[in-house]
Amino acid sequence: MRSTVHRVDSSQLLKGVLDLAVLAVLAKRDSYGYDVVRSLREAGLDDVGDASVYGTLRRLFKAGALNSYVVASDEGPHRKYYGLNDVGRSLLASSATRWTTFAGTMNDLLKEVAS
């Protein structure tokens, strides 16, 4: 067995919660791929990768959590918009609850350590 020590880096953390982050962005309004990337970066997730977001959108869509529709634009390519359906909304709700619990646990743990 290989033993490794993990230093927390935000891209590793992001992997676990990218689904939740994308669902949260789409809960505000329907959006297309590159727009989701921009929203996440503006929210502070600078490390988020374009391919990760695109792949996550396609996977959530395939899993039936999103609906999608194409909007023709005058300048530039057609945009495929994604939005939450009922499955997506309930997935977001349960994931958000779990994240809140988890984050609370981590915060409690770190409270004593924090300077």
């Binding site: 992997k15 990218l18 689904d19 297309y32 791929g33 590159y34 990768g49 374009d50 391919a51 990760s52 977001v53 695109y54 792949g55 996550t56 396609r58 996977r59 395939k62 530039g76 390519p77 057609h78 945009r79 495929k80």
Partner: protein, 340 residues
């Protein structure tokens, strides 16, 4: 050295190529709007696609991870690869361990010399297998066409065996063909096709089975009764000789005197009599040669023969000396000359 920036199309193409190993449906699903998406990214001013997104291979790896997400979502490649490595590893370690034993080492050294023999056997077995599938289940080819087919299959098998550097699919096919040949061979050794089931040798243990080569499947027999000979008379009560009987389909009607300890008397100087020419010249089957066959009879009929002897006729049959034949009186209910 400056490289012109990649167009979205070229970038997308490179990503597709890097994901070529994904199942086609998954890849289609994943990359459906990649071109539009990349065009959108490229429309951002300032940076090239590669500056913004990194090399296409990395982009593809990130896509794969994000789309697969959990490890369970990309089991296909991983699982088969793992199984293959495990199997080859097992085989290899077993081989290495067995090499400690001298007989195994000798067999390994000797095996390559057996390969041409296996090629020939493989072709033969495959050919017979294919012939059997087409209804000729036997261990040697039945006719000239079957022989030609078999020889061609052997030739192909040897040709394939001598050729080296097969492609991957060819090697897989070869493994499959080898497996089929081995299985068929083992199956045939375990239960060889019984030719007596279909050949014209139903009474092969009889002394003189069907001279003139009458095939059993083409004859009618008077089954069920104790009839082993037929004595025909005309309406005036005169015995008839060399009467040939056929059924409605033109098949010869034969009886089975061998089942009653009788044998058809074969003249020593002539051809054996027809099996459906009645009355049959029968002798008691008691007298046998050393090899179990019935001795031929000289022209004088044996006196203890219960059957009336044949008299000369105008047919091409070798004529036999007329003898004192018993002459029963004809009865309307049918001839019962023998009392048997």
């Amino acid at each position: 050295m400056t490289v012109p920036p990649m167009s979205p199309g070229a970038y997308a193409e490179a990503v597709r190529a890097a994901l070529a190993d994904l199942p086609a449906a998954d890849r289609e699903e994943l990359l459906e709007d990649l071109d539009d998406h990349l065009a959108e990214v490229a429309a951002e001013p300032g940076m090239t696609l590669e500056d913004r997104l990194g090399p296409p291979e990395e982009y593809a790896a990130e896509l794969r991870a994000a789309y697969g997400g959990r490890p369970a979502a990309r089991p296909r490649l991983r699982l088969t690869d793992r199984a293959r490595t495990r199997v080859t590893g097992l085989v290899r370690s077993a081989h290495t361990r067995s090499l400690r034993f001298l007989p195994y080492r000798q067999a390994v050294a000797f095996a390559p010399e057996l390969r041409p023999a296996w090629w020939v056997l493989r072709g033969y077995v495959i050919a017979l297998f294919l012939l059997a599938v087409n209804g000729q289940g036997r261990l040697i080819p039945g006719d000239l066409a079957a022989w030609a087919f078999t020889l061609a299959a052997v030739w192909v098998s040897v040709w394939v065996g001598r050729r080296s550097g097969m492609r991957t699919w060819g090697r897989g096919l070869l493994v499959a063909v080898n497996a089929v040949a081995a299985i068929v061979l083992l199956g045939a050794l375990a239960s060889p096709p019984v030719e007596a089931d279909r050949g014209p040798v139903m009474f092969a243990d009889g002394p003189q089975p069907y001279p003139y080569g009458v095939r059993v499947e083409n004859v009618s027999t008077l089954d069920g009764g104790n009839v082993y000979n037929i004595i025909p008379y005309d309406k005036d009560g005169s015995p008839l000789h060399d009467v040939r009987l056929y059924d409605q389909d033109g098949n010869p009607i034969i009886v089975d005197p061998e089942m009653f300890g009788q044998a058809i008397a074969v003249p020593c100087d002539g051809e054996p009599p027809l099996r459906n020419a009645y009355p049959l010249p029968l002798t008691s089957g008691d007298v046998r040669e050393h090899d179990g066959s019935v001795p031929c009879v000289m022209r004088s009929p044996s006196p203890e023969s219960p059957s009336p002897s044949a008299s000369p006729t105008s047919s091409a049959e070798p004529s036999r000396t007329p003898g004192p034949s018993p002459k029963p009186s004809p009865s309307p209910s049918g001839a019962q000359p023998d009392g048997k």
